[in-house]
């Protein structure tokens, strides 16, 4: 009887075994990576601080390692992408240019930051400042913090010896110097053109600084690049990048008035703070009137205060009965200095230029059949309604939003990961590719004190 049962049961059990091995579903073949019509054999990244991985008001090793070009190159590797070299700071020089870190919060909840000194300088005794120790390896990430599109044809841009006068940000860039051979007078454009000769794919995200310098100084420092200049130079660099048939992606310039640098310190909050102390007080600002005259006026909720203004506003100064920003009238006040205020007129200048630059970028990209990451509309959406990554909420808020670093302008590693994912989406659409995206939650937001 037992053998009978065994005979009856055995096929049953065998069938069960087959069922089990067949049980594990496999979805991987549904999501196999492919390059489509793009070729990722050599990818080069052209751009500014955003491309370099600049974060927390500095370029340092961790930021470089989490740059969007580095993330992209990693993902390209699933579809035939090759080696990608970044001019990384060494472990011994990992603080790079120096950067901000969060040390805590004040009693009222304001973040407190401190500077971490840089250690990548090559001058003995002053390792915290440029010029930096040269990087002479192969460079695929050509992101140079601070560079404007307007600067790309500037000769000796990375050659201190070639400077005719005292170097300025418009004539010399220490980050470009770092990757330029000693004594070489080449411009950024010439370097890009040389690298483009062997590149099969590129990303180009230049132009942010052509408006950012003006905006972050409240319209006081740095002029906005002329649109015709911008268009011409953008066309030239795209022509150079595509001269050998390389495909690529370009990104538009986000409207900087959406970033925490301009949205964190709000007139309404300051006003409430003043009125709590003295109901007669209000917020006064210094701004540029007609014909460049400095005028003092009552602040409105449309005036944007910069992030650094938080360190200035509300501290009493000798000889003035009001803390900075407070006043009873335009004549009886201690206004917020002009360089901390982006008023409505200045905001219009910024937005007009951003729109014109983006038109130039998109038109040229369309002409060449390139993928476009519309960073402007993407970050506008993030500012309006946040951005959920795999169940985690992210917003454009300072610190709590996860996406923007302590300088209020540059992304955190999480922010760069999101940028990389959006670029992959655009590349996949444009070139019929299937490059896998990454999980942005594997990348940190703002680092908190331990």
């Amino acid at each position: 009887m037992n053998t009978f049962l065994f005979r009856k049961v055995t096929p049953f059990v065998t069938l069960l075994g087959l069922g089990l091995t067949a049980c594990q579903p496999d979805l991987e073949k549904d999501f196999e990576a492919s390059r489509g019509t793009a070729d990722f054999t050599r990818y080069i990244a052209v751009g500014n601080s955003l491309t370099a991985g600049f974060s927390d008001n500095g370029l340092y090793l961790e930021g470089q390692q989490n740059s969007y070009p580095s993330i992209l190159a990693n993902q390209f590797r699933t579809a035939g992408g090759g080696e990608f070299n970044q001019p990384l700071f060494t472990e011994a020089q990992s603080n790079g240019s120096g950067y901000l870190r969060l040390t805590g919060f004040s009693a009222t909840g304001s973040p407190i930051t401190a500077n971490v000194a840089g250690n990548a300088g090559r001058i003995a005794g002053a390792p915290g400042s440029a010029p930096y120790t040269k990087y002479d390896g192969r460079v695929d990430n050509l992101g140079v913090p601070g560079i404007r599109l307007a600067d790309i044809h500037t000769a000796n841009f990375g050659n201190l010896a070639g400077q005719t006068g005292a170097p300025t940000a418009a004539t010399f860039n220490p980050f470009f110097e770092r990757i330029t051979p000693l004594g070489n007078s080449q411009s950024y454009f010439q370097r890009v053109k040389a690298e483009a000769a062997t590149a099969t794919f590129f990303s180009n995200w230049l132009g942010n600084n052509d408006v950012l310098g003006y905006a972050t100084t409240g319209g006081v420092g740095g002029a906005i690049t002329r649109t015709d200049t911008f268009t011409l130079k953008n066309n030239r660099i795209i022509n150079a990048l595509t001269a050998n048939g390389a495909k690529g992606i370009v990104a538009t310039i986000p409207d900087v008035t959406n970033v925490p640098f301009f949205t964190t310190v709000r007139v309404a909050d300051i006003r409430a703070r003043f009125k709590a102390a003295n109901p007669a007080l209000d917020v006064y600002i210094q701004t540029t009137g007609t014909a460049g005259a400095q005028v003092v006026r009552l602040a409105t909720d449309n005036d944007l205060l910069t992030l650094p203004s938080s360190a200035v506003i509300g501290t009493t100064t000798t000889g003035n009965p009001f803390p900075v920003g407070a006043g009873l009238s335009a004549l009886q006040s201690n206004p917020v200095p002009n360089q901390f205020v982006l008023d409505a007129t200045e905001q219009t200048s910024v937005r007009t230029a951003t729109t014109a630059f983006n038109t130039a970028i998109v038109n040229k990209a369309n002409e060449k059949g390139l993928a476009v990451f519309d960073a402007n509309s993407f970050f506008s959406r993030v500012a309006a309604s946040g951005f959920v990554t795999n169940g985690v909420n992210n917003t454009a808020s300072f610190i709590a939003g996860n996406l923007f670093s302590l300088d209020g302008v540059h992304p955190t590693p999480r922010g760069y990961a999101v940028v990389a994912n959006e670029m992959i989406r655009a590349i996949n659409i444009q070139y019929g590719a299937s490059i896998p995206q990454i999980n942005p939650n594997d990348y940190r937001g703002v680092k908190f004190p331990q």
Binding site: F12, P25, E28, N390, I399
Partner: protein
């Protein structure tokens, strides 16, 4: 390969989930029924009628005891939207069981009995570091129902029956990772359900030897946890003040099911059953947790479920090959209660197709029942856009696919 070693292999590979019937409902209440696609409402097979249709109990010829146990071996795959990395489940096993004892006079019209079964449950353990970790890392949902039952044959053709359903044991353990700006913490909710009552009633009608009909209703029971424990781990000191809760309360509806069934007996040896189950999942609208103290400034959390009522169609049959041996086969189509854009990691559900086989051998008063089911939960993709549109971004966009194999064994003894 012996059965024992096979089970060990299985144990190393498997995990469990709700076996069938959609959502977190498990319909594995009788080993004979399991081999027949889960039919039973229109049949009077054995003591498991107490679950499928108490009205049929009075028509069950034998009195006796029977026990059954099943192993749900679920294998899942998940790929996040835009990604290509397949995530699978960590190993675990769920063993729904059932126990019935039926009594009554040999020729009388009464039958009484007691049933113990596990109609709802779910256990899933996702891979370490998977994309949906802030929605769920682990879930373990258990319930044991005890059901004293009486059944009475009004005539030779019609009988009625009812049981008092006692949610005797219910436990929930939910775990997920807590997203912090630069790291992850972990939260574990662990609680026991209050004892609750419901009922299970049915009517059975057998106008001839060739055909029978049944109707059954199992009422809803709200599994309520009042004083569950909240435990945080891995929260750095700088965030500790945001995570103060230590106790939680929550209610999970164990929904009502209405079933009708038909039994067809063309010959003495062949029995065919067809069942339809209507599960009132629409009662499951939100999953809300109330906390004694704040978590990130909130003293509750609410997550949309918005389930819809769902229908299951089952067909199965058995054939008595010899005096001792009966073989079975069946299948079921099980409509998912989960709408598009509402799929959550704790029930990565979709429409299910299942096929079953089974066999019994009786040695006089003693019998052994074997059953095996293969359940294929259809591939389900939800997009981030759907989540955004539905306000359900607390879960994750991607594609799920699950297959389940459920071997089961039962022993029965007739008085």
């Amino acid at each position: 390969m012996t059965l024992k070693s096979l089970l060990l292999v299985g144990g190393a590979l498997l995990t469990g989930t709700a076996a069938s019937a959609g959502g977190y409902q498990v319909t594995l209440a009788g080993q004979k029924n399991n081999g027949m696609g889960g039919v039973g409402v229109g049949l009077s097979l054995d003591q498991a009628a107490m679950f499928y249709n108490p009205g049929a109990l009075a028509m069950v010829k034998d009195r006796g005891v029977q026990v059954g146990v099943n192993a749900t071996l679920a294998r899942s795959a998940f790929v996040a939207q835009g990604g290509n990395q397949q995530r699978e489940l960590r190993n675990s096993v769920v063993t729904p069981f059932n126990l019935y004892a039926g009594f009554g006079p040999a020729e009388g019209k009464f039958r009484a009995g007691i049933a113990v079964y596990t109609p709802f449950g779910s256990k899933l353990q996702y891979a370490e570091g998977w994309e949906g970790r802030t929605a769920l890392t682990d879930i373990d949902l258990k319930s044991i129902f005890v059901q004293p039952t009486v059944s009475y044959a009004i005539t030779d053709q019609i009988s009625v029956g009812a049981g008092l359903v006692v949610l005797a044991y219910g436990a929930v353990n939910l775990q997920r990772d807590v997203p912090l700006p630069d790291s992850y913490g972990h939260i574990e909710l662990d609680g026991k359900a209050e004892t609750k009552l419901g009922f299970n009633a049915g009517i059975f009608f057998k106008p001839s030897d060739k055909v029978s009909f049944g109707i059954n209703y199992r009422s809803k029971i709200d599994a309520q946890v009042k004083d569950g424990d909240v435990t945080f781990t891995g929260i750095p000191a700088s965030f500790a003040t945001r995570f103060e809760a230590t106790k939680f309360g929550a209610t999970l509806p164990l929904i009502a099911t209405t079933s009708i069934g038909v039994g067809i007996m063309p010959t003495d040896k062949l029995t065919i059953g067809i069942d339809g189950n209507f599960a009132q999942w629409s009662k499951y609208e939100t999953l809300r947790f109330d906390f004694d103290k704040q978590i990130n400034g909130q003293t509750f959390s609410e997550s949309k479920r918005n389930y819809k009522d769902a229908l299951t169609i089952r067909v199965g049959g058995q054939y008595k090959l010899t005096d001792g041996l009966t073989v079975r086969a069946g299948g079921a189509y099980d409509e998912t209660p989960v709408r598009d854009g509402y799929v959550t990691p704790e029930t990565p559900d979709n429409d299910r197709f299942s096929g079953t086989i089974g066999a019994s051998y009786s040695f006089g008063k003693f019998g052994v029942d074997l059953s095996a089911q293969y359940v294929s939960i259809q591939k389900r993709t939800e997009t981030q856009q759907q989540l955004v549109n539905n306000g359900t971004t607390d879960r994750i966009a991607g594609t799920y696919k699950t297959n389940i194999v459920i071997p089961g064994i039962g022993l029965n003894y007739a008085f």
